[in-house]
């Protein structure tokens, strides 16, 4: 039986109470994407500032705005911490890893399986997702998976906007 302590881990509540990287970034140079959870009405805005192109660019800054439940807000907070300083390919790989953690396979079939090929996320690190692993308990509450992935899907929308603006 899945208990609430599996869902509301202390680290999740910490990010919920004190969300990191809240706010906005000027657009441009940053790009912005809005995500909605049609089931609950949660709305989230991700601002993404990438230094460089889609292949070698580095995430200079991420800010998150909007409203949501403890799971969506803490997931957004942890996401922002996890991606700053990473290259775009590393971020995309991290998204796949996170969705794997949520038991979601991407349309291209890339789930948890190929994540070991990601630079900086090799098998010798027993906790490649760091704090994000605290969200693993969400899988036991399937209704909440959409809450946990909202910020990540919105991040991907922002990355996809960034992609054509090569060198931006």
């Amino acid at each position: 039986m899945a208990g609430l302590e599996d869902l509301y881990r202390e680290i999740i509540l910490d990010h919920y109470r004190s969300p990191r990287n809240r706010g906005e970034l000027p657009v441009p140079p940053a790009v912005m994407a809005e995500g909605h959870n049609p089931l609950c009405g949660d709305e989230i805005t991700v601002y993404l500032d990438v230094d460089g192109g889609p292949d070698d660019g580095v995430v200079r800054d991420v800010k998150v705005a909007g409203q949501g439940c403890s799971i969506s807000q803490s997931s957004a907070s942890m996401m922002s911490q996890a991606v700053i300083g990473k290259t775009v390919p590393e971020v995309r790989a991290l998204v796949r890893r996170f969705k794997g953690l949520m038991s979601i396979e991407d349309a291209d079939g890339a789930g948890d399986g190929d994540a070991a090929a990601v630079p900086g996320a090799t098998g010798d690190d027993p906790h490649p997702l760091g704090d994000l692993e605290a969200l693993q308990g969400v899988v036991k509450f399937p209704v909440r998976i959409k809450c946990a992935t909202l910020a990540w899907n919105t991040l991907v929308q922002a990355l996809d906007q960034e992609a054509p603006a090569s060198g931006g």
Binding site: L4, Y8, G41, F141
Partner: protein
């Protein structure tokens, strides 16, 4: 009674424990504990009578309706039409053939928008809605606005979640249709339906009443309302999902073009075209929900046995008890949206609890088997007016008791423990 805003007359005492005994879901255990189901505004639980009527009809009384000579088919047709007569009687419709079976109330509104609307509304024609409508009574009209250029006007709300009728006559001036809810699925508000119909007719507009939340909980009289179209759903009134209702005045339904084309709705078909069948078949293309109609008929009989005035009184008592109990226990930490006077509200309580997101509230309540809805309740424009993305919502029905309200109040304490408030 002409609307839901008055207290029903005293009725004989109902044995509510016996009513509860008719609901098998109350025997369900999760984590060894019974369920406290407070989400009947979304969909209601089903009594044995409905489940058994559907099972027996599907098992040994099933056949096509309206199209075969053998006795089994005749029995199925009789039961199907019997359900229509029962539900027509239930809301005091003048004639059973004015009661159209649809898929749900959403489809019913789409029939009116798609058939009546397309035949009668053009660029600049006005449809008046209210700020407390469900998406089902917004989007079909927005689709017509995009397609035909109709204008939509909105009746605003007062601070306590009732319709602000100050400028109603101006809003209705020149309108073709006033389409509004008889009970808000978020606020529980019971607008004065008969008064609104009268105002619309005085302005030369027709009326559509979204009675989805009203019919399951109140004695309904579509003739006393003097409405033109009334829609509701079986699944919120102890019946099955998959069948909804559209009642319309015979003359209007006769003038309207059909909505869906196909079998059963035709008078004749040639290579050059078709003629339509008389009501109600004209609006029932294809094989309808036969078993579901039987369930709906049984649900109507079940509710009639309790008596709708008794249902309303029971829910007023529960709502009053809930407002008192939650108010005493949590004070300003718990804010219930909508009117505080139970005379003008049904048994639907949307609330904000401290600073917690409704998803987290409902998750904590689920730990104690207390089932409430969390979300925007398919009423996003209203949510924005309330300044919320979402609310938690508890709603009552015939199987609920004051113990359920107490369980809700106690389970909310779990949120305090987890979130350290």
């Amino acid at each position: 009674m002409t609307s839901g805003t008055t207290t029903p007359a005293p009725t004989p005492t109902v044995d509510w424990a016996a009513v509860r005994a008719d609901f098998p879901f109350l025997e369900r255990r999760i984590d060894g504990e019974p369920l406290v189901y407070l989400d009947s505004a979304a969909t209601s639980q089903k009594p044995r009578q409905v489940i058994e009527a559907m099972a027996s009809s599907a098992a040994c009384g099933y056949g096509p309706i309206n199209r075969s000579a053998y006795r089994l088919a005749g029995e199925a047709t009789d039961r199907y039409e019997g359900a229509r007569a029962a539900v027509a009687r239930f809301v005091n419709a003048p004639a059973a053939h004015e009661m159209i079976f649809t898929k749900n109330a959403t489809e019913s509104i789409n029939v009116v928008a798609g058939a009546w609307g397309r035949a009668n509304l053009g660029a600049g024609d006005v449809v008046v809605l209210t700020h407390m409508e469900h998406h089902a009574n917004i989007v079909p009209w927005q689709m017509l606005a995009a397609d035909r250029g109709i204008e939509i006007r909105w009746v605003p709300l007062t601070d306590d979640g009732q319709l602000d009728l100050t400028d109603l006559d101006a809003l209705l001036d020149g309108a073709k249709l006033f389409s509004f809810t008889a009970m808000s699925n978020v606020l529980g508000t019971l607008p004065p339906v008969a008064q609104l119909c009268r105002a619309a007719h005085d302005a030369g507009a027709l009326t559509l009443v979204d009675a989805c939340q009203f019919v399951p909980h109140n004695a309904t009289d579509v003739q006393a309302w003097d409405a033109d179209f009334v829609v509701f759903s079986a699944h919120k009134m102890c019946g099955p999902s998959g069948i909804g209702l559209l009642w319309g005045r015979e003359a209007l339904l006769d003038e309207m073009p059909p909505f869906l084309g196909g079998g059963n709705m035709i008078g004749n078909v040639t290579l050059d075209g078709f003629t339509t069948a008389p009501l109600p078949d004209k609006f029932e293309a294809g094989t309808p929900p036969i078993t579901e109609a039987v369930g709906l008929g049984a649900a109507v009989e079940f509710l009639e046995t309790i008596g709708m005035d008794a249902v309303r009184r029971h829910e007023m008592d529960l709502t009053r008890y809930a407002l008192d109990t939650l108010g005493q226990r949590y004070g300003s930490d718990l804010v219930v949206h909508g009117p505080s006077n139970v005379e003008v509200r049904g048994g639907v309580l949307s609330f904000a609890f401290r600073d917690l997101h409704p998803h987290d509230v409902s998750q904590v309540l689920d730990e104690r088997n207390v089932c409430v809805r969390a979300g925007h309740h398919c009423a996003k424009p209203l949510m924005r007016l309330l300044g919320a993305n979402a609310t938690a919502r508890a709603s009552f029905y015939v199987y609920n008791t004051t113990d359920d309200v107490d369980a809700l109040a106690e389970a909310l304490d779990g949120a305090t423990d987890i979130f350290g408030l």
